[in-house]
């Protein structure tokens, strides 16, 4: 009765025995694989974690938000304003036109922003704060909440009222436990009345809203910044489904206002983005980074593979007489090949498993630290990653074990037995 089971079991057992026989050398041999596999897993873990973090941040904004930026920008690249260039093509009036339901039927609210920074002081306490000139719609569009006092009104905005609403962090910094409502603070040497404090919000899209001082945008433009243009407007629409229609309406409205007749978009001096688009861009950037780094890690697998090949060649030489004996009792060339292939695959598999354990542990620790630091950093063990790591390490064993195995299988039994 023939039985492949016994045969295969013996081959695996024999490989295990020779591995155990040289425990330390086996582990040393797998080092390249361990480093390669764990690096791939750590890089992927960091990539996935960072991506999760970014996506989470952007999602907090809400998926029915659109952004309108001044200046034309490549649809896949970062906006020009992100490079620190100020572009003056968008105005408060543009924002009001977009807010008009006759122009953009799906609009719910529009916030134009004019941002800057200035020294803010109260009774000798000074701090450098970010100023955010915005419209009343800030609450509706961005979803902020007022903790004490109130937000400014449309009339105060129109009348250039000197009122300020503080982010929670600014409030604590300047006022500590004192009640700030009704107090006068100085911003750029002008007196403002504090009328409200915002509820703590944390990071949203990598901006800490708690560190802002909110002013009516007209007050900001005329009394502080001395500019007419706005840096950004955010548009909230009724439903994510209508994103495309709303983007189109906004584009048409602004083209008309800016006397742009070119319908291709090439002459636009503004760009409209949806949160979904932003997500796509971010995802594609982080993906590219991940693939690049994973490629680097793959290089270390290659180095590991060459190490395996070397060790296997040494083992073939050391075991020449044994190969001769095995052939003498009837092992075919394929039997010998299988012996060495199974051994090299098992060595790389061990390396792969150690690499997976180290990689996942480090990824987990990074996530723990990031979460401890307050980031929304997810950690997940993906079965696909594990499977891939196992597959790749076995493939390295197969690939780099092949040459030594073939070499062993081709030994003449007579010469192998005569080998001293």
């Amino acid at each position: 009765m023939s039985s492949y089971y016994h045969y295969l079991r013996e081959i695996v057992r024999n490989a295990l025995l020779t591995m155990l026989e040289n425990k330390r050398r086996t582990l040393l041999t797998t080092l390249g694989i361990v480093i390669g596999v764990s690096a791939v897993i750590i890089i992927n873990g960091i990539g996935a974690g960072a991506q999760g973090l970014i996506v989470g941040q952007v999602k907090k904004l809400g998926s029915n938000l659109l952004g309108v930026l001044p200046g034309k920008s490549e649809s896949n690249g970062p906006p020009a304003t992100a490079m620190g260039i100020s572009i003056t093509t968008l105005t408060y009036e543009d924002a009001m036109a977009v807010k008009d339901k006759r122009n953009v039927p799906n609009v719910i609210g529009v916030v134009p922003y004019s941002r800057g920074s200035a020294t803010v002081s109260w009774r000798g306490v000074q701090t450098e704060a970010s100023l955010s000139g915005c419209s009343v719609d800030y609450i509706a569009v961005e979803g902020g909440e007022v903790e004490t006092g109130r937000f400014f009104s449309e009339i105060e905005d129109r009348d250039l009222a000197r009122v300020a609403v503080l982010g929670s962090a600014v409030k604590s910094e300047i006022f500590g436990d004192n009640d700030p409502i009704g107090q006068n603070i100085k911003i750029k040497n002008q007196t403002f009345e504090v009328i409200g404090v915002m509820t703590e919000r944390g990071q949203v899209a990598f901006q800490n809203y708690d560190e802002y001082v909110f002013l009516p945008i007209n007050t900001m433009q005329h009394l502080i910044a001395g500019v007419r243009y706005i840096g950004l407007m955010r548009v909230k629409i009724d439903d994510e489904k209508n994103t495309e229609a709303a983007i189109n309406d906004i584009i048409l409205t602004l083209r008309e206002r800016h006397d742009i007749t070119d319908k291709t978009g090439a002459s636009d001096d503004f760009s409209v983005r949806s949160a979904a688009q932003a997500l796509d861009i971010i995802t594609s950037i982080t993906d590219a980074l991940r693939y690049f780094l994973a490629g680097m890690a793959a290089l270390s697998l290659l180095v590991g593979g060459i190490g395996i090949m070397n060790i296997m060649l040494i083992r073939v030489a050391q075991r020449t007489r044994e190969i001769g004996l095995r052939k003498a009792v009837g092992a075919t060339n394929n039997d010998i090949k299988l012996h060495f292939l199974v051994e090299s695959i098992m060595i790389t598999l061990v390396g792969g498993v150690i690499g997976i354990i180290i990689g996942e542990t480090v990824s987990w620790l990074i996530a723990i630290v990031a979460q401890y630091l307050g980031y929304d950093w997810p950690f997940t063990i993906l079965p696909l990653t594990i499977l891939l790591a196992v597959g790749v390490s076995m493939a390295v064993g197969l690939l780099f074990g092949l040459y030594p195995a073939v070499k062993a299988s081709k030994l003449s039994p007579m010469e192998a037995l005569r080998y001293e």
């Binding site: 009765m1 023939s2 039985s3 492949y4 089971y5 016994h6 045969y7 079991r9 013996e10 025995l17 026989e21 007489r321 044994e322 001769g324 004996l325 095995r326 052939k327 003498a328 009792v329 009837g330 092992a331 075919t332 060339n333 394929n334 039997d335 003449s412 039994p413 007579m414 037995l417």
Partner: protein, 248 residues
């Protein structure tokens, strides 16, 4: 092939066997046209001085190496041009080897060593264990099955090697200087086992350069400088069961 035919036809027949090692300027000519026959149940000693080509001849007869010229018929079939896989199957199914240096696997038990040919024959484990245990018992090692090969004496090692050679019930057992690494007492035990096996009908080809060892065979083929010098029956055969030590 029937028993009748086997009795008439030689088990092994070589005609004008030639063996060269290497090629061109580096050529070493080892065998120059050797011809002889070995019949079923024979016990042949191949003798000759060192370097005369004894091992080379045995390697060719045992399918470990291929001849450069001449013909080799095994069990009536021309096996001169067999490929590697066919040779491996012949070694596995028809041949048993015993070497001077035992060639046992280290860190492996006695039983596992003897089972090795059956592993490559893809036998079931139960069958392999049964067959290996039986041959080990027949060479007096039934009590050493689970010993590791580094835990037994030289004589016992060679008995393990004989058991391994027997386990596939081969047509021929080749033994190349099987007593070369043993003291004379263990040596005679090995010769006794070989003689007993021959009594039971096994064909044995023994390579040795010791006349006293060769005289345990029924027939001596002498090789000198790669040529057959003589092929004679042993006039006064030595019987290991009547000896205490192997004379050198």
């Amino acid at each position: 092939m029937s028993k009748q035919q086997l009795a008439n036809k030689p088990l092994i027949e070589v005609r004008d066997l030639i063996k060269d090692y290497g090629e061109g300027e580096l050529i070493t000519k080892v065998l120059f046209g050797v011809s002889f026959q070995v019949f079923q149940g024979d016990f042949v000693a191949i003798m000759g001085p060192s370097g005369s080509g004894k091992s080379t001849l045995m390697h060719i007869l045992g399918f470990l190496d291929k001849a450069t010229g001449g013909q080799y018929l095994f069990e009536g079939h021309n096996v001169t041009g067999l490929d590697d896989d066919a040779l491996a199957i012949m070694r596995n199914q028809r041949i048993g080897f015993v070497f001077q240096s035992f060639n046992l696997l280290p860190r492996t038990t006695v039983l596992e060593n003897v089972m090795l040919p059956l592993v490559y024959a893809r036998n079931k484990k139960v069958d392999a264990v049964k067959a290996a245990t039986a041959v080990l018992e027949s060479v007096g090692l039934g009590h050493r099955l689970d010993y590791y090969t580094n835990q037994i004496s030289g004589g016992e090692k060679q008995r393990v090697a004989i058991a391994r050679a027997l386990v596939n019930q081969p047509a021929v057992i080749f033994a190349d200087e099987p007593t070369g690494n043993l003291d004379s007492k263990s040596g005679i035990q090995i010769m006794r086992i070989l003689q007993d096996l021959n009594e039971q009908g096994n064909t044995i080809i023994l390579v040795t350069h010791e006349t006293s060892t060769g005289e345990h065979a029924k027939r001596i083929i002498r090789i000198k400088d790669g040529k057959l010098e003589s092929d004679k029956p042993v006039a006064k055969r030595r019987l290991a069961k009547n000896e205490d030590t192997l004379a050198k």
